[in-house]
C-alpha cells in the first residue's frame, strides 16, 4: 500500500469540496474493497477522505411510501432491517447471498454500488487491463475468462460487476441520490452503472466530484413473489457465476408485472425491459419463463471458457421465475435449489 494522507469529512458539503480539490483523492466509507485494492497497488489514492462518520446512516420511509436507505448504512443493517426484510425481501436475500457477515457488517450501501470488478487481470498489475490502465489492452478477452461477462461486452473489457445487492436494486427499480458541487440529483438505476465500451475505466455515471448519499426504493417490493437465485463455484462466500433477481405481481395464474435482472453476466446488473414485457400478461408457466429467458439472453456472446454461462443463465432464469411464481424463494442458508 502506498502512503497517503487521511482526512475526515465534516459533512457532505465538506466531502464534496475535499474530493473536488484533488483528482487523486478517494472517499473511504467501509473500505472493504478499497483497502484490498490499495494493498494490491491497484488503487493508489493521494488522500483518503473518510466519510464514514457522515450522517447518512438512516433507513426511512419516503413520501411516496417507498424506502430511503442512507449511503452509509452497512449491508447487514439493510438486510436485517424490518422494513427491508418484510417489504423488500428480494433485496435482503441478495445482500445475504454476498460476501461474509464480517464484510457485510462494514461494507456500506454506497460502496457496494461503487465496488470494482474482481476480474483477476484487473488485480494483477503484471498484465494489461484497460480498466486499470486505459489503453493497455484486455488480458481477459483471450485469457482465462471462465468468470467473465456474456452480455454487453466490448473488445476493451469483458469484466463483470461483482455486486449481488445491485442486481436486486436493478430489479426493484431503485434510484441513486447523489450530491455534488452544484447540488443534488437523482440517477435511475439503469443509468448509474455503465457498459464498458471503449472506456471501461469509467464504471458509473457518477461525476468525479459527486458523492452517493442514498438509495431510494419505490413502494412496490414484490414481497409475495420473488427470488434471488445465485449460482457459484462454492455454496457460500463466492462471487456469482450467474445470479437472478425476480419479482412478480400475479393476478390469478397470470403475470401482471414482472421484474427480472441478472448478475455475474455483464459490466452492470443486466435488466432488459423486453424480457419483462415477454412475461407481462402471460400465464405464469414454464413456457412463458423459457421465452423470457430466450429474450433476455438473445444477444449473449461467449468467450473461450465461459460458454457454459449462457445455458446456466437460461436455466437459472427459468428456475428463479418458477420459485417466485410458486412463492418459494431461494433460501440463503439452505442452498438446495428447489
Amino acid at each position: 500500500m502506498i502512503n497517503f494522507q487521511y482526512v475526515r469529512a465534516r459533512d457532505v458539503a465538506d466531502a464534496v469540496r475535499l474530493i473536488s480539490a484533488d483528482p487523486a483523492a478517494k472517499f473511504i466509507a467501509g473500505g472493504t474493497n478499497l483497502i484490498d485494492l490499495m494493498k494490491e497497488d491497484v488503487e493508489r489514492p493521494s488522500h483518503l477522505i473518510d466519510i464514514s462518520r457522515l450522517p447518512l446512516k438512516t433507513i426511512e420511509k419516503t413520501e411516496e411510501n417507498g424506502l430511503r436507505i442512507g449511503a452509509l448504512v452497512p449491508n447487514s443493517d439493510v438486510a436485517y432491517h424490518l422494513q427491508v426484510a418484510q417489504r423488500y425481501p428480494m433485496l435482503a436475500s441478495a445482500i445475504l447471498a454476498g460476501a461474509s457477515p464480517q464484510l457485510r457488517n462494514v461494507a456500506s450501501t454506497g460502496g457496494n454500488l461503487l465496488q470494482r470488478t474482481r476480474c483477476p487481470y484487473f488485480y494483477d498489475r503484471a498484465t494489461p487491463c484497460n480498466k486499470r490502465e486505459a489503453g493497455s489492452g484486455c488480458s481477459a478477452v483471450t485469457g482465462l475468462n471462465r468468470m467473465h461477462a456474456i452480455l454487453g461486452t466490448s473488445g476493451a473489457c469483458i469484466a463483470t460487476h461483482p455486486s449481488d445487492m445491485c442486481v436486486a436494486l436493478a430489479a426493484l427499480g431503485a434510484t441513486v441520490q447523489v450530491a455534488g458541487l452544484t447540488g443534488e440529483r437523482t440517477i435511475a438505476f439503469p443509468d448509474f452503472h455503465r457498459l464498458p465500451g471503449d472506456t471501461p475505466q469509467r464504471e458509473t455515471t457518477l461525476e468525479p466530484n459527486e458523492i452517493v448519499t442514498a438509495i431510494a426504493l419505490p413502494p412496490q417490493g414484490f414481497a409475495a413473489n420473488y427470488s434471488y437465485l445465485k449460482i457459484r463455484d462454492r455454496l457460500s462466500y463466492a462471487f456469482a457465476l450467474v445470479s437472478v433477481a425476480v419479482g412478480l405481481e400475479l393476478e390469478g395464474d397470470r403475470i401482471k408485472e414482472a421484474r427480472l435482472a441478472l448478475g455475474g453476466v455483464a459490466h452492470k446488473p443486466w435488466r432488459d425491459p423486453t424480457a419483462e414485457t415477454a412475461l407481462q400478461g402471460q400465464a405464469a408457466d414454464r413456457a412463458t419463463f423459457t421465452r423470457a429467458a430466450d429474450v433476455l439472453l438473445r444477444d449473449a456472446k461467449a468467450f473461450q471458457h465461459n460458454a457454459f454461462k449462457i445455458g446456466l443463465a437460461h436455466r437459472a432464469v427459468v428456475r428463479a421465475l418458477t420459485q417466485a411464481a410458486n412463492g418459494t424463494p431461494q433460501s440463503q442458508s439452505n442452498k438446495k435449489i428447489a
Binding site: M1, P101, Q102, L103, N105, Q332
Partner: protein
Amino acid sequence: MSISAKIPLSLTINGAEMNLSVAPWTSLLDLLREHLDLTGTKKGCDHGQCGACTVLVEGRRINSCLTLAVMQDGTRVTTVEGLATDGVLHALQQAFIDHDAFQCGYCTPGQICSAVGLITEGKASSAEEIRELMSGNICRCGAYPNIVGAIQQAMRQS
C-alpha cells in the same frame, strides 16, 4: 499535514483505554499485532477472505485487516485476548476445547470472535444457519463439524 505525520487516536481495547498515534495506512490488524503485541488476532490472507483476523468492534464482528486503525478512533475493540474474564474462559473458548474444534489452531481466534458476533446477532439457530453465517471464517484443517458443535454448545448456554 505532512505525508509521514502520524495521527492520534484513542481506542478502548479489551477494556483498556489507549491513546495512540499511527500512520494512516496502518490496518487495525497491524496496530493490534505489531504495535500493541496483541498477537492472538491472526494475519491469514490480509485480504478479508479467510476471517483469521476477525475482531469485535462495538460488539460487531469485522475483518481487522480491511479497516484502517484511524477509522476506528473512539471505538471499543475486543480481541480474543479480551474474551476471558478473571481467568475464566469465555463460553465459546471452553466449547472449542470441549469439542476439539481445531487442529493447527491458526484460524481459532478468528473463529471464536466471529462466533461471539454470530451469537450476539441472533440470526442463526440451526446448524445450517450457523454454517452459512460462519462462512467468512475458513479452517483449512477442516474442523468445521466440531466448530459448529462448539458454537451450538455455547448457544445453548447463552
